[in-house]
């Protein structure tokens, strides 16, 4: 009786494992290379066309695919995996994808931005946070069109080479400091009158003699500081053997 139970539970576990391992792989989302995949039907036709043009134009500039993918269900995947799988084999190597899943109630619905290829580096973690914060209010308000549009515009903005506004004043400040160092260095040549600091010129030849010389080791101290982690980069993870970046949340 006991052995039967054990065999049964073993089979059950194997069955579960098989399901988990095989089922998602068989149900990988596909998109046929379309930039706006509105499976959840969140946009009307006019909006979809407009977003498509926007994504196409901007994507061309950055040599990448900018994708919006909506779905009603994650089919048992995590939002991150689902978004990552959307990329594989369907798009340009360099792509960024916004996944909106409208399954569940308020606060349970997922959205995720996934980056692949060059886009991983181009969209840093902090910038992804900015985009997420920008679109979250629209998602919460049900204005998916504006959310998608904001996402496209901001991704493009961040992907294009850009510098924070305060970089220019910093550059000017450093430039000014260096200029002052140089100019004061030149100005120093005009000042040749100063007191002597010592009498080194008048030391009697070979008169220096050291009679006692001791170097005594006393003690040592070790101080350690935590190494600064790379804060301005992009974190990556692996899905289906490929490398992705990105970040998501609930709304």
């Amino acid at each position: 009786m006991k052995t039967t139970k054990r065999v049964c539970s073993l089979l059950f576990v194997i069955a579960i494992l098989l399901t988990v391992a095989v089922l998602p792989a068989s149900a990988e989302p596909t998109s046929d290379g379309r930039l706006i995949v509105d499976n959840a039907d969140l946009f009307n036709d006019a909006q979809e066309a407009e977003l498509k043009t926007l994504a196409q134009e901007n994507g061309k500039k950055q040599d990448c695919d900018i994708i919006v993918y909506t779905t009603k269900s994650l089919d048992g995947y995590s939002a991150q995996s689902y978004a990552d799988y959307c990329h594989i084999n369907n798009y340009n190597d360099n792509s960024v994808l916004l996944l909106i899943c409208v399954a569940g109630g308020e606060g349970e619905r997922d959205f995720h931005i996934s980056t692949h290829g060059d886009c991983i580096k181009k969209l840093k973690d902090s910038e992804l946070e900015d985009i997420k914060n920008a679109i979250l209010p629209y998602l919460q308000g049900g204005d998916y069109y504006t959310a998608a549009k904001t996402y496209i515009n901001q991704s493009v903005e961040y992907m294009a080479p850009h510098l924070k506004w305060y970089m220019l004043p910093i550059a000017i400040l450093i430039g000014f400091a260096i200029a002052m160092l140089i100019m004061n260095g030149i100005r120093k040549k005009l000042k040749t009158v100063q007191m002597q600091s010592g009498a080194a010129n008048y030391v009697r030849q070979d008169s220096m003699n050291i009679t006692q010389s001791r170097d005594t080791y006393l003690y040592s101290t070790v101080a350690r500081t935590r190494r600064a982690k790379e804060s301005s980069g992009s974190s990556t993870h692996s899905t289906g053997g490929d490398s992705f970046g990105g970040s998501g949340g609930k709304f």
């Binding site: 000014f176 009498a199 170097d215 070790v222 101080a223």
Partner: protein
């Protein structure tokens, strides 16, 4: 008061020391005399001078008491003109006949210098020194160079006190050495502390201290060093043709400055024997000076004065080595123009670099 002119034994003209020949030379008949040869002649003249020249006492009432104390009046032996000068003046020129004169009484007894370094460089060299000093100075106002009116060029024997001293020092230092390494999570800094002890001695010869209040101390220290190998035993003949002051700051007052300099150099010299540490801080310094000897010497300095925008600029040249010093004014317009240009270029490069860094 004695006033001494060196008369040419040949023609009777007033003769002076020629820095190029390093001899006395008569400007009238071009006869040259060895300084050594004049030594005996010099001795005779010294004794002779004191009897026939007197204070011009009747002029005293015209001077305030302050001035009376600090001014001396002499009568020129050549032309009879009245020479008014400072109480410390030891050699000058007669303003009427330009003959060089030496006030003998200023250089007698305790006031007699032990050594003199004769002028090696003449007035021409001093004027050339100034124009060289003004070239290659980017921020010097162009007008200063162009309108370079020399108000005055004078060769002055400046009184210096020379101090010899042996310094014994024992100095204790606290020194550290650091070693740094890191693992994946932490950076480590190991600081090792050492106690260093050095004891020994060092000697200094002829450390000069300006003995005249007429000469700015910083200006005089700036034309240093003087090479004492060029010094000879003092003879008044060397002063002919130049200005000379006697000291008005005595050796006692000057010794502190010499002590400071000797101490600073002793500390430096000992500090240089402590090598191989990241930081070295002296914790206890004990420097004792002994065998202190003081000598009185006259050192040759060319003084040049110019005026620019109502401000006086004084330059000094070492009459032995030719070292030329003197602060110069700054062209502030040029300073800020070029400062702005460099700021623009450097900022543009940095900002461009930031962009480039973004793109890569």
């Amino acid at each position: 008061m004695a006033l001494q002119e060196y008369k040419c034994p040949c023609c009777g003209g007033a003769i002076s020391f020629d820095s190029t020949l390093q001899k006395m030379k008569c400007p009238y008949c071009d006869t040259e005399f060895d300084v050594e040869a004049l030594r005996g002649y010099d001795e005779d003249l010294k004794d002779e001078g004191s009897d026939d020249l007197e204070w011009n006492t009747d002029a005293g009432s015209q001077w305030s008491t302050n001035e009376e104390g600090s001014l001396r009046t002499y009568v020129c032996k050549s032309c009879g003109g009245e020479i008014i000068c400072d109480e410390n003046t030891a050699a000058t020129e007669c303003p009427y006949c330009n003959n060089p004169v030496v006030m003998m009484n200023q250089l007698k007894g305790n006031l007699k210098p032990d050594y003199v370094i004769p002028f090696k460089l003449d007035k021409k060299a001093a004027v050339e020194g100034l124009s060289k000093h003004l070239t290659g100075k980017f921020l010097l106002p162009k007008v200063f160079k162009d309108q370079n009116h020399l108000d005055e060029v004078k060769g002055v024997y400046v009184p210096f006190w020379l101090f010899d001293a042996d310094a014994d020092a024992d100095i204790r230092y606290r020194a550290t050495r650091t070693r740094m390494w890191s693992d994946s999570d932490y950076n480590y800094t190991e600081t090792s502390y050492f106690s260093i002890y050095r004891a020994g001695g060092i000697g200094f010869d002829h450390v000069p201290v300006d003995g005249s209040t007429h000469m700015a101390d910083d200006l005089m220290e700036s034309v240093e060093p003087f090479n004492f190998d060029g010094a000879v035993d003092f003879q008044t003949a060397y002063l002919a043709g130049y200005l000379a002051d006697k000291y008005d700051v005595d050796a006692e007052q000057s010794i502190n400055r010499a002590n400071d300099r000797v101490k600073a150099s002793t500390e430096d010299a000992f500090r240089n024997t402590v090598q191989g540490y990241a930081t070295v801080t002296p914790e206890a310094t004990n420097i004792r000076l002994h065998n202190g000897k003081t000598k009185y010497a006259l050192y040759p300095v060319w003084i040049l004065n110019t005026t620019y925008k109502d401000e006086k600029y004084t330059f000094a040249m070492n009459g032995q080595t030719g070292k030329f010093v003197g602060n110069l004014p700054t062209d502030w317009g040029k300073f800020w123009r070029f400062g702005a240009l460099i700021t623009a270029i450097v900022s543009a490069l940095i900002y461009g670099g930031m962009w480039l860094w973004q793109l890569l």
